[in-house]
């Protein structure tokens, strides 16, 4: 199993760098403030209505709602990409343990790397406004990651029993 360690750690570091770079570019180009829904962004609508209740506010409102959603999706990609990267590196560090459990576990390791990359990729697509495809890819990635991690947990637990102090 040792030969899988380096590629898994590299994949994790690459995900982290991608998340960090995206975060930096997003902060610089779009906004430095992390907000789930930018509440104060609605000020122009209320300001307009305060000045003139007959103003047509719907277009502006929809634009602000869409901006809030894009903002939330971008931050979600940034955070999940980094966390998945860290988890991948940790799995990479534990990979040699699989050699002590029954069965090779190689398919599980490869499956987790694929899932860890698919999930943030889906979130990135959503942030880039490719919504449907992004949601499908993210859901696939998340489902695969959970299933594989559950199996890895069982394998690692079995392998840990073979270690003594």
């Amino acid at each position: 199993m040792d030969r899988y360690q380096k590629p898994v750690v590299i994949a994790g570091l690459a995900l982290i760098v991608a998340g960090l770079l995206f975060g930096l570019v997003f902060a610089y180009v779009v906004d430095h403030q992390a907000r789930l829904v930018a509440a104060d962004a609605y000020q122009p609508v209320f300001q307009l209505l305060g000045e003139n209740p007959a103003t047509d506010w719907r277009g502006l409102q929809e634009k602000i709602n869409a901006q809030s959603l894009t903002h939330a999706s971008a931050i979600t990609f940034h955070a999940h990409s980094i966390n998945m990267g860290v988890l991948l590196i940790l799995i990479g560090l534990l990979v040699p343990l699989l050699g002590r459990a029954q069965g090779s576990g190689a398919a599980l390791v490869v499956g987790f790397v694929v899932a860890a990359c698919l999930y943030p990729a889906g979130l990135l697509l959503i942030a880039l406004k490719v919504k449907f495809l992004g949601e499908v890819v993210a859901a696939l990635g998340a489902g695969l990651a959970i299933a594989v991690l559950a199996l890895l947990f069982l394998k690692f637990s079995a392998a840990l029993k073979t270690i003594s102090e």
Binding site: H32, L36, I89, L152
Partner: protein, 350 residues
Amino acid sequence: MPASVPFGRLDSSRLLALGGICMVLIAMLLGEIYAIYISHVANGIIRQSWTAVVEAATQGNAFAVEENFAVIQDLTEKRGRTMNTHSHLGAFGLLALVLAFIQPVLPLTDRRKRQFAVMFLLGAVLQSGGVYVSYYVGRWAVYLADVGAVLFIIAVGGNLMALLSRQPAPSLSETLLVQLAPSASRFLVKAGLLLILAGMVFGLYYSWGLVSVDRPAVFSAIDATVEGVANQDAATAGESIAQFKRMQSKIAITAAAHSHAIEFGLIIILLAFIQRYVLLDDAWRLRWARVLAVGAYLLPVCVYLATMYGLRAAAFADLFGGMVMLGLIAMGFGIVRYTGAADLKSVKAE
């Protein structure tokens, strides 16, 4: 540096490990301060200001709308910057700890590894510090944060490039069994993986609820508020803005429960690798590991319960956060004892 000696005197592993633990601790302390002194207080004032905005807009008072939005903007920014610093410091701490473990396999000179480690730590301090002080000193500090971000991206990228090079590197697997030998380590690996798994399952379950129910509810509440204001219907607008705030809080708290479960899971696994360097009796190592795990499991649960039971559940979340910090501090003491003993040994050898 051979792979079998992960903690040498002031080498990159030790710098990153100690820096990482400090950052995680500061992030947790900041999180507690944020939750107790900023978030709850700001939430109440923001809710009042939103009600005032709606009333003012319904009455056609544009000046009062602007005045109340200034309060919302100020508090949102204060809360956002503190929250941002808390989450970034925690993530930097985790990253620093992870990088500490891969230092022995990097085909770089000790000097270059140390340069990257210092660059990472300096970048993390500049980024999180810049974001935090920007609320108090102005926007220029945000650009300081960007410089910090560039520094640690170079540091992490440098580690990645080193691993990608074709130079032969020592394997970490030879030390793995030794690292996981203490019973506390094995307990923490299993506890951490299970917590991450639980956090991911909860995240997948909630993402469905978020996309299909909660997020549309937030947008429909703000739309109903604006519509109420446009129709001069203050009662509907007032009810809708209260619903908007409630839903926003629910989303933020539920997301916090999910992210805390995953982050605590990652911290727990990372701590499993350093139990060998916690110079405490094995029984005490296991006790502190259990204290930390209990806190880490129950904090996200209580955070989630805060969406139903409010501050009572939040108080329990603070209590369990304290348990995590206690466990971390105990392990920190153990590591300081270990590094002191190791230093003494090497001085005697010289």
